[in-house]
């Protein structure tokens, strides 16, 4: 293997006169990681995934996997797996038969294909439904089936387009656990509108807006670089308490955000480290008998997302 795990250069895709991706560049170095792709509706996430998977033909640009530039629509079977958002499974076929069929298509022999089908069904918790057909499954179970087929064999890149959309919290947590389990072995590219999920699941995140990657960072860097410490309060702080925070030497500005019930302090990090600032702020709040329920250091991904995409969702 040579080169980044995934390298996209100058990718363009239009549907008629509508340009969806415009000279998109994206490089992901790590071959075993979870990378989030977030963006407002219509930003081009699903189109980007369709291009990487070879479903769509780019107007221009290249996609390289581990240094090898991929042909426009042809892909090596089993190399890239995808949970496609709008693809459907055929009805009237048992899950184990369907998954064994997919495994055979990518080269597994008869018995090995059956074993592989059983493995991925167990992985997503559908072993008990192996004899059911896709049309008998609930939305959440069909989503799991989609994930199961994406985990057949040993793909080098797994693309999961909205893997927990429409799932109940327990099912979503199970799916996230499965994604974490395989993330050490291959590159997993995840899109989700649930930014907390991306924040929780991914080590790196790329923000897509209007057909371009507008920011790509490690999640820790994206959140940690923020010069902001916020406290969730059950009620607004008193004026003396707010003033008490604002007059601290390292505080550039302090304000009450009624919409999110947070007391926010913007920090000048040349004056104090985040740790020092946190402890002094805590002491000041205790001094003014201000009760808080949660302290948040740095901005949330959602804040970054809104900054980068002009607030469009």
């Amino acid at each position: 293997m040579s080169g980044p795990a995934l390298e996209i250069k100058g990718l363009c895709k239009s549907y008629g006169s509508v340009s969806v991706l415009r000279d998109l560049d994206l490089t992901i170095s790590s071959a075993a990681d979870i990378v989030g792709l977030v963006g407002p509706n219509g930003a081009g996430k699903t189109t980007l995934f369709g291009l990487v998977a070879g479903f769509l033909r780019p107007n221009r640009g290249t996609i390289a996997l581990h240094g090898h530039v991929l042909p426009r629509t042809a892909r090596y079977p089993g190399d890239i797996a995808i949970l496609a958002q709008d693809a459907r499974f055929p009805s009237g076929v048992k899950l184990r038969v369907l998954l064994a069929h997919y495994a055979r298509l990518q080269g597994a022999a008869g018995k090995a294909a059956a074993v592989e089908a059983s493995r991925v069904l167990a992985l997503v918790g559908l072993a008990g439904s192996a004899s059911a057909s896709p049309d008998q499954l609930s939305h959440g179970m069909r989503k799991r089936l989609g994930i199961a087929q994406a985990f057949l064999g040993a793909p080098r890149l797994v693309i999961l387009d909205e893997p927990t959309e429409g799932l109940d919290p327990q099912a979503a947590r199970d799916v996230r656990a499965v994604i974490r389990d395989i993330s050490g072995q291959r590159l997993v590219l995840v899109s989700s509108h649930n930014l907390l999920e991306v924040e929780d699941l991914c080590r790196e995140v790329a923000i897509l807006d209007r057909g371009r990657i507008v920011r790509q960072e490690k999640v820790s860097a994206l959140l940690g670089e923020a010069e902001e410490i916020a406290f969730h309060l059950p009620e607004p702080p008193t004026a003396p308490a707010l003033d008490g925070v604002a007059i601290l030497s390292f505080v550039r500005r302090a304000y009450w955000d009624a919409a999110t019930s947070r007391l926010v302090a913007l920090i000048d990090r040349r004056q104090a480290s985040i740790e020092e600032a946190s402890s002094q702020l805590l002491a000041r709040l205790v001094e003014h008998k201000v009760r808080f329920t949660q302290m948040q250091v740095g901005k949330r991904l959602e804040d970054r997302f809104i900054e980068q995409t002009s607030g469009r969702r």
């Binding site: 496609a84 693809a87 459907r88 499974f89 087929q149 994406a150």
Partner: protein, 250 residues
């Protein structure tokens, strides 16, 4: 399954019709051969030779099968990739296999299905002919094998046409309508248009039915020409479909 049922029903009807027809025309007079020769474009001599040299009931079955095959094969093979693309199930298939094997696999699957139907219908026809004592078993089986081989080859361009339609149109019924529409268009342009402009008669070469009745002839030249034309169109349709499927978004 509906297509399969229609196929078998039609073939059964063809067999029964050919039985009645040939038993009433044992002499196969000059008028019949003249009419059939004109209808098929083979000429009275070739038709007379076919009925003389082969079991007559099987020859008439062969003729009817050649008439019925285009429509029935279009119907039986109209859903190769169309509904896979329409439902986007093709996306799940394409992460596990490449486009070309998927395309050829679907086309070969359809051709195998159609071939089995031909085999079933031909076996029934041969059995009836032998049981009725209308021909010797060896002659009937031998000619039945030739009928089967011819029908399979003749089916290839229609299967390929539906492969092309499926790569282009994500709805099986629309693909079928397009195939039948092309057949009608070619017929109208070559037959009706040919009355106005003689060069339009050549339009029929664009459809695999142009030389289908030559498959009945025993002349090597006729057979080679018919097989060549049929094979050429099969290759053209199949290649066009493959190129389109490899090029298109799914």
């Amino acid at each position: 399954m509906l297509a399969a049922a229609l196929f078998v029903v039609f073939h059964t009807w063809a067999i029964r019709s050919s039985l009645r027809w040939t038993s009433g025309l044992l002499g196969f007079d000059a008028l019949s051969s003249g009419v059939l020769g004109w209808l098929t474009g083979l000429g009275a001599t070739t038709i007379t030779a076919a009925f003389r040299d082969h079991p007559p009931m099987l020859v008439s079955f062969f003729l009817l099968a050649l008439v019925a095959t285009p429509g029935l094969v279009l119907l039986a093979s109209c859903d190769q990739l169309a509904s896979e693309i329409g439902s986007r199930h093709v996306r799940y298939l394409l992460v596990h296999t490449a486009r070309a094997p998927l395309y050829w696999g679907k086309a070969l699957g359809a051709l195998t299905f159609v071939s089995l139907l031909h085999a079933l219908a031909t076996a029934v026809a041969v059995t009836i002919v032998v049981l009725m004592g209308a021909a010797g078993a060896a002659d009937a089986v031998l000619f039945g094998a030739r009928i089967l081989a011819s029908l399979i080859v003749f089916s290839m361009p229609f299967v390929a046409l539906m492969a092309l339609a499926g790569a282009l149109i994500p709805y099986p019924a629309l693909g079928l309508a397009a195939g039948l529409g092309l057949q009608f268009l070619v017929w109208a342009m070559s037959s009706l248009g040919g009355l106005v402009n003689d060069s339009l008669r050549h339009v029929r070469l664009a459809y695999p039915t142009a030389f289908r009745f030559e498959l009945i002839s025993d002349r090597a030249g006729d057979l080679a020409f018919a097989f060549g034309h049929i094979t050429l169109l099969a290759v053209v349709f199949a290649t066009a479909g493959l190129l389109l499927f490899r090029w298109r978004d799914v």
